[in-house]
Every structure is written in structure tokens, then in C-alpha cells.
């Protein structure tokens, strides 16, 4: 118990360390190490690990930093995430990063990559275009070329060449990482009271700013502790949160949902850490090809991925059923086109499957949760009443 408390305290601190102290210490400990910052949602950190680097997730500043300069760069009708990120860049919090990757999710992140170029932060700044064509000979080839570009950028920084052995090793580590995270979700599916959604969130988010080796150790210990009974089951409903894959809701919002009587049994909050569903082949002669193949065939559903032929709504319904959830909470950042434009069709799919839902919008620094708590409370009560 004590052990878990200590782990949680550590993860809670790390998850919102906007100075990225652990990552910087790691880099400073040995010459030739590098830090690559990446924005939501997904980036295959394996390739960075394999060339003596650490892929560090930059998930925004949440409600932990006052935005002063960032607001001068963004109109009020643009989501909050990029203004926090540019604030960090301008106040030198990101100075130890060697380069940045901006995975394709929307035009705000895309244009932010250009802003980083203009303010010259990092030695390179790459908008990382994921293929929207999933044929191995078309999209697969393109994706590989995108990865090679980043590898080349990294090579320019520390001169480390990618080797099959090292990449396979890194793939193995991240396979373990995803497996452990999934294990936690599995345990929480059956016993959600053993680890709160907020704690789960802190634990997974902390993994974006420390080595995967350390994170795996933490996850193993968490799995060990929550494999035993702890906590008290409550008469809560079970919900899946959808739409929070990029700008992250404030912790207060997650707490409010839990306090209103909802167990969050799945979500897309730290989607990047769970992107590949299952293992990437870690014994391949062509490990880069294995990463490409996993992206094409094992990616989770997301607003970032073209879904004709395999609609997100159906995949959400499937997830809800697998998790035995009672309902869905659509929770998207305000002005987030990808999440908000997907919502109506996903709601329709839920309606068709008889899955109740509610929806609200947030900013990462929203401070008022009364309305959300009431809404979630009413949702929970109504589900219990009609169950």
C-alpha cells in the first residue's frame, strides 16, 4: 500500500513536470544522448530509443501554467493546447530538446510546427505526416520514408546509426510497456475501484517523460499491487471517455466524473501510449518494417486516421461492449475540429446500439466543474434508474 502511494506520488509529480527534469537528467548523464519532443497523439518512440534518445511526450500545460505569451499567438477561437506549448517554447522550458515532431492530427498542430520553425526551437522541427492510405506498397512505403527522415534528423544530432538489434530491443521494451498498460486496463475493467482513473492517468502520462525502462518497472509494480483486492466497490456506472486524445482535460474534470458516480473503464486520454493494439514484431530482420506494418494493421481507431470502411463509431461501440460499459462521455476540447466533427457520427452509432451518452467540451485549464459534475451525476443516476 505504502509502495503504491509512493509510486503514485512520483507519477503525479512527473506527469505534470513541465520542466521535464527527469528527461533532462537522463540526457545530461551521458554524452551522445538526445531528447525528441513529440506532440499528441502517437509517435513510435522505439526508433528514438534505438538511437540513444528519448521520445518525450509534450501534452500541453494543462492548468499548471499561466499563459502569458501564448495568448498573444492564438485567437480566442483556437483550442488551448498549442498556446501552452508555444509558451513553453518561448520561456525556454524546451531548450534541452534536440528536436520536435508534430504528428499529423490537425491544422493547429501542423501550423504549430511552422511556428517552431520560425522561432527556431530545436535543431529540427518536423510535421510528421501519417499515411492515410493503408496499402503496404503505398502508405507503408510513405510511412517508412517519414520515419527515415526523423532518423536522419536524429543522426545529424548525435551520429548514432540505427541497428536491427537495438531497434528490436526497443520494440520489445515498448511492447512490454503497452502490455502492462493494457493489463492495468484489464484489471480496472473488472475491478475499477482498485485504481482510480486519475491515478491511472498520472501513471501513464508519467511514462511520457521518463525512460521506458523505468516506466515499465513502475507499471509492473502497479500491476502487482492492483492484482490484489484493494479499495471498496461503489455503486457506480461504468463509462468510456471519448474525444480527449489531444488536449487533455484537467485532472479536476476526471475527478468530477468519478465523484459523480462513474467508473472510467476506458478512454482515449493517453491514446498515443496505447496506439498499437498488440505487439510489434521484435524479432524481425527489418524492425523498421515491423513498425510500419504495426501502424498499418494494428492501429487503434482515432480521429487522426481516415476511417472509411472501418468507422470509428462502430469501433467505439465495440469497445464499450468489451469493457461492459454503461455509457459514453464525449468530452472534447473546445474548438477541436477533429474530435467535434467526429462526434455526431459516433453518437449516432452509440444511439443505434442503445448506448446512452452525454457530451461536454473543456479547455485544459477549465477551473469550474460544477456543471460537468451535475451532468455526469444525472447521467449516472439515470442509467442506474433504468438499468
Amino acid at each position: 500500500m505504502k509502495q503504491l502511494d509512493a509510486l503514485l506520488a512520483h507519477c503525479t509529480e512527473q506527469a505534470f513536470d513541465l520542466h521535464f527534469s527527469k528527461a533532462r537528467q537522463w540526457k545530461a548523464a551521458e554524452p551522445g544522448r538526445l531528447l525528441l519532443g513529440f506532440l499528441p497523439i502517437y509517435f513510435p518512440r522505439e526508433i528514438v530509443h534505438a538511437v540513444n534518445g528519448m521520445g518525450v511526450g509534450i501534452m500541453g500545460v494543462g492548468d499548471r501554467k499561466q499563459i502569458i505569451k501564448g495568448d498573444a499567438y492564438y485567437q480566442s477561437y483556437i483550442c488551448h493546447l498549442p498556446r501552452g506549448v508555444i509558451e513553453m517554447a518561448l520561456d525556454n522550458s524546451l531548450d534541452d530538446f534536440d528536436g520536435f515532431v508534430f504528428p499529423a492530427i490537425c491544422d493547429c498542430v501542423r501550423n504549430l510546427s511552422g511556428m517552431f520553425k520560425l522561432v527556431e526551437r530545436g535543431k529540427f522541427q518536423r510535421y510528421f505526416d501519417y499515411p492515410q492510405n493503408f496499402s503496404p506498397s503505398i502508405g507503408g512505403v510513405f510511412f517508412r520514408q517519414e520515419l527515415e527522415k526523423v532518423l536522419d534528423d536524429l543522426f545529424q544530432v548525435n551520429g548514432v546509426k540505427l541497428s536491427t538489434e537495438k531497434l528490436n530491443h526497443a520494440i520489445g521494451l515498448y511492447n512490454t510497456n503497452r502490455k502492462l498498460i493494457e493489463h492495468i486496463y484489464q484489471i480496472r475493467q473488472d475491478y475499477p475501484w482498485r485504481l482510480s482513473a486519475v491515478d491511472t492517468y498520472h501513471i501513464i502520462r508519467a511514462g511520457l517523460v521518463m525512460t521506458v525502462e523505468e516506466h515499465n518497472q513502475i507499471l509492473e509494480q502497479v500491476v502487482e499491487v492492483i492484482s490484489e483486492e484493494r479499495g471498496e466497490p461503489l455503486d457506480n456506472i461504468r463509462v468510456v471517455i471519448s474525444g480527449s486524445f489531444c488536449e487533455q482535460p484537467p485532472i479536476g474534470l476526471l475527478k468530477s466524473i468519478e465523484m459523480a458516480g462513474c467508473y472510467i473503464v476506458d478512454d482515449d486520454l493517453m491514446l498515443g501510449s496505447r496506439w498499437i493494439q498488440g505487439d510489434v514484431d521484435d524479432k524481425s530482420d527489418d524492425p523498421l518494417g515491423a513498425i510500419v506494418d504495426a501502424y498499418l494493421t494494428k492501429s487503434t481507431f482515432s480521429s487522426a486516421v481516415y476511417d472509411v470502411g472501418n468507422p470509428k463509431g462502430d469501433r467505439l461501440v465495440k469497445l464499450v461492449k468489451e469493457r461492459h460499459a454503461d455509457g459514453v462521455i464525449f468530452s472534447a476540447a473546445s474548438f477541436c475540429d477533429p474530435a467535434l466533427l467526429d462526434k455526431p457520427e459516433m453518437q449516432k452509432a452509440c444511439d443505434a446500439a442503445g448506448i446512452p451518452q452525454i457530451n461536454f467540451q473543456f479547455h485544459e485549464n477549465t477551473g469550474q466543474f460544477k456543471v460537468i459534475k451535475e451532468q455526469a451525476g444525472t447521467f449516472s443516476d439515470s442509467i442506474k434508474l433504468w438499468a
Binding site: C106, G114, I138, V141, Y306, V308, D337, L341, K348
Partner: protein, 433 residues
């Protein structure tokens, strides 16, 4: 394109009106003619390819802007919001979906046919993908051809990107077009159309660059979207487009010869007081009022980025009959919104210089992330590099709730006042203005 009632019209404008009326008539007759209809986007459009299969293009963005001008967009947007679309998202999407839900009545009052193919040329705007994912569900069973255009993140088009595009054209887009149209792909026909495309492109560039003259014979923003640019998208590659641009080019030459300024809906602009470069789309719901604020103050837009969403031809790109598929690919990747932010800044800074602009203005669109995210940084950069006064106004494309006439007018009046004062100071210092 824009149907401004009682506006003064030149011959080219009449030709354009007829061309568009014919297109919409043809679209209205597809049941009888059996012609297939392709819905697609303006940036990265594959007009020549569509026409080479004898199919007809429909551009949902153009429908949306037309709905805005016809004061229908508020109703359509409401309709989409009832369906669960947030107030925060791109209003073009909502307007288009609302229009479809309300019977798909096109700008000429005729019902637009449903699509036979959704050609998702995913170029320069992430929302396009969301838009067509939604349309695919609203038109069940209609095939979608996805053409993913990689972003010029490094400020250039790479051979790998080109290869990716061409493969998609060959293996995804063309086979779907063959299947829908029932016709085999004809490379020769496509190539021949590109001869026309390049001719029209040469003319278009000459017309847009005529704004370098003082006074400028055209307004490269309002008139740019009103009658100079629109024909381009739907008719590129045809003889009619070349004829139209030839006529327009002669008209513009004549205006230069006579020393005339641009035509506005209320006739000729008399005195050119301010020359501006504008970034961002216009507002459509109050297009005429918006334009009037400018021409009443003697402000001419000499260059704009919005007229480049369908291609930045002034940077030299031309469709090439010798490599039709490659040039379609390059065309898509070269569109303005597919350029990275430093490229956009460079282009706009060059415009300010080359077109001898007195100021740089941004019309920031509330619901368009593709344009708006990063615009404040663009503004700072342009101010820093060119030294001209910069202005910033906000509105929306087709949501009338976000067009505040008084607010915009006040801001613009102060801005023009500032430009005026600067001119006085500069002329006192002996600087040519």
C-alpha cells in the same frame, strides 16, 4: 461566381455567369444524361482528371459560400447543429451538411444531384477528411477515393512525396473513377487538357500580376474570388476556360491602358488610396458590405492568399502535358494551405514588396483552423520584415453570427487612418508613396 445583384458587369463577368449557369443546368440534368457527379474540394482539385472521364465536379465549399451569399447559411448551419455538430467547428462543413439535409438546392435554385463518387483530395486542410467521412455516412454506398496529399512540411516537394501521390492516383483514384464512370482512363485526353490548363494558368497569373500597376486595374481579393478565380476550379483544362481568361486578360489590359482602377459592384473605383495585401478567406454572408468598406475608403487589395488556395501559379507551377499525373500531384502539394508557415510568411512578405503594398491585413476566420492557427505569428513576421502597418480583423466564412459589421468597420477605419498618417509622414520625408 458570386451573384451580386445589380452589380456593374464587364463582358467577362457575363461569360462567367453563363458558364456557371450551364454547369448547374448540366448538373440538374444528370438523371436524363446519365453523367456522373464527383464531389470534391477546391484545394488540390483534380478537375482535368474528372473532366477527362466526362464526369461533372461539384465543390461543396463553393456551395457553402454561395449559400452564405444567398443568406441561406444560417439556416443550414442550424440544421447541422441540430444533428450534433458543435458551434465551434468549420462552418463550411455545417453549411454543406445542412444544405444537403434541406434538399441540396444549388445556387441556381435547382436541386444538385447526389454524388456518384466522393473524391477526397485531402489537401491543405485536415477538416476535409472529417467532412467527407461525414458525407460518406450521409450518402451510404457512394464510393470514396482518398488522395492523401502530404504537407510541404520542409518547404519543398520531395521525390518521395511525389511518388506517394502518383501511386495513389494510379492505384486508388483512377481505378475508382473508371469504375464509377464506366470509362477507361485516357492519358492522352488528360494530357491534351493540360495544354489548356497551362494556357489558362499563364493568363491567370498575368491578370493577378496586373495588380502591380498603379493604380491596380483589379482587386485581387474581392474581385479575385468574385470573378477572377472561380472559373478556374470548375473549368480548368477546357477551351471555355482559355477563352474566358483571354477575354478577361484583354479587359484588364484595356483598364491599364486607360489608367483605370478596379471594378466594384458600384462601378469603377475612382481613387486608389491604399494598396493592401490580405491573408485569409473573406466573409461571404456580408460580402458586399464587407467589400464596400474597402472601396469606399479607396483601399484596393493588390494580392491575397485566399486566391491561391486553388494553386500558387505565380510561383511558376503549370500543369504539364508531358507528365500529367506528376503535375496533378505537384499541383495538389503546391496549394497555398499546403505550404508550411515559413513559406506562407515568405510569400506574403514578397507580395507586400512586389506589389508595393501600404499595409498587410489579416481577416481571421473563426472556424477555419487551417488558415487561422498561426496567423498572429504571420502578422508579427510580416510587420517585422516589411515594416508596413499590419491590421487584424475577425469574421467567419458563412456563419452570420460572427460577422459584426460595426466592429469590423471601426477597426478598418482606424487602420486606414493609420495608413493615411503614415503616408503623410513618408511623403514629408520624401519617400515615394
Amino acid at each position: 461566381m458570386a451573384d451580386i445583384k445589380d452589380a456593374i458587369k464587364e463582358k467577362s463577368m457575363v461569360i462567367q455567369k453563363d458558364m456557371l449557369a450551364d454547369l448547374f443546368k448540366e448538373l440538374g440534368n444528370t438523371k436524363e444524361t446519365g453523367k456522373k457527379v464527383v464531389y470534391t474540394f477546391v484545394p488540390g482539385n483534380l478537375t482535368e482528371l474528372i473532366l477527362s472521364f466526362d464526369m461533372l465536379p461539384v465543390y461543396p465549399e463553393i456551395n457553402a459560400l454561395q449559400s452564405g451569399m444567398r443568406k441561406k447559411s444560417a439556416e443550414y448551419i442550424r440544421e447541422a447543429e441540430k444533428l450534433g455538430f458543435s458551434e465551434d467547428v468549420c462552418t463550411y462543413v455545417k453549411c454543406d451538411i445542412g444544405m444537403m439535409l434541406k434538399g441540396n438546392i444549388g445556387p441556381t435554385g435547382e436541386t444538385l444531384p447526389p454524388p456518384d463518387l466522393l473524391l477526397l483530395s485531402y489537401t491543405g486542410c485536415f477538416t476535409f477528411m472529417k467532412w467527407f467521412e461525414n458525407l460518406e455516412r450521409l450518402y451510404p454506398g457512394v464510393p470514396v477515393a482518398m488522395l492523401h496529399t502530404p504537407y510541404q512540411e520542409d518547404g519543398k516537394i520531395t521525390p518521395e512525396q511525389l511518388e506517394y501521390m502518383v501511386k495513389q492516383l494510379k492505384e486508388e483514384v483512377i481505378p475508382k473513377m473508371e469504375q464509377v464512370s464506366g470509362k477507361a482512363f485516357d492519358m492522352d485526353r488528360l494530357s491534351k487538357m493540360m495544354v489548356n490548363s497551362a494556357k489558362a494558368e499563364d493568363l491567370l497569373v498575368k491578370i493577378l500580376e496586373s495588380a502591380k500597376h498603379k493604380p491596380s486595374p483589379i482587386d485581387a481579393y474581392f474581385a479575385g474570388v468574385y470573378y477572377i478565380g472561380p472559373i478556374f476550379t470548375a473549368f480548368r483544362g477546357t477551351d471555355a476556360a482559355v477563352e474566358y481568361y483571354t477575354e478577361l486578360y484583354h479587359e484588364v489590359q484595356e483598364r491599364i491602358r486607360l489608367g483605370l482602377g478596379p471594378i466594384t459592384p458600384e462601378g469603377e473605383m475612382k481613387e486608389e488610396k491604399f494598396r493592401l495585401v490580405v491573408e485569409g478567406p473573406p466573409n461571404w454572408t456580408n460580402f458586399r458590405e464587407f467589400w464596400k468598406i474597402f472601396y469606399d475608403m479607396g483601399a484596393v487589395i493588390v494580392a491575397s492568399s485566399y486566391t491561391k488556395v486553388g494553386g500558387v501559379y505565380d510561383l511558376g507551377f503549370r500543369h504539364d502535358p508531358d507528365e500529367p499525373l506528376e503535375s496533378l500531384a505537384k499541383y495538389c502539394m503546391g496549394c497555398y494551405t499546403n505550404m508550411n508557415l515559413p513559406q506562407r510568411v515568405n510569400l506574403l512578405a514578397d507580395y507586400v514588396k512586389e506589389y508595393k503594398a501600404d499595409g498587410f491585413l489579416i481577416n481571421s476566420i473563426k472556424s477555419c483552423n487551417s488558415f487561422s492557427a498561426g496567423q498572429l505569428m504571420i502578422m508579427r513576421e510580416i510587420e517585422h520584415r516589411s515594416g508596413v502597418p499590419v491590421g487584424f480583423i475577425e469574421s467567419d466564412l458563412v456563419d452570420p453570427r460572427y460577422f459584426s459589421y460595426a466592429n469590423i468597420k471601426n477597426r478598418l477605419e482606424s487602420y486606414f487612418q493609420m495608413l493615411g498618417q503614415r503616408k503623410v509622414i513618408l511623403s514629408q520625408e520624401g519617400v515615394e508613396v
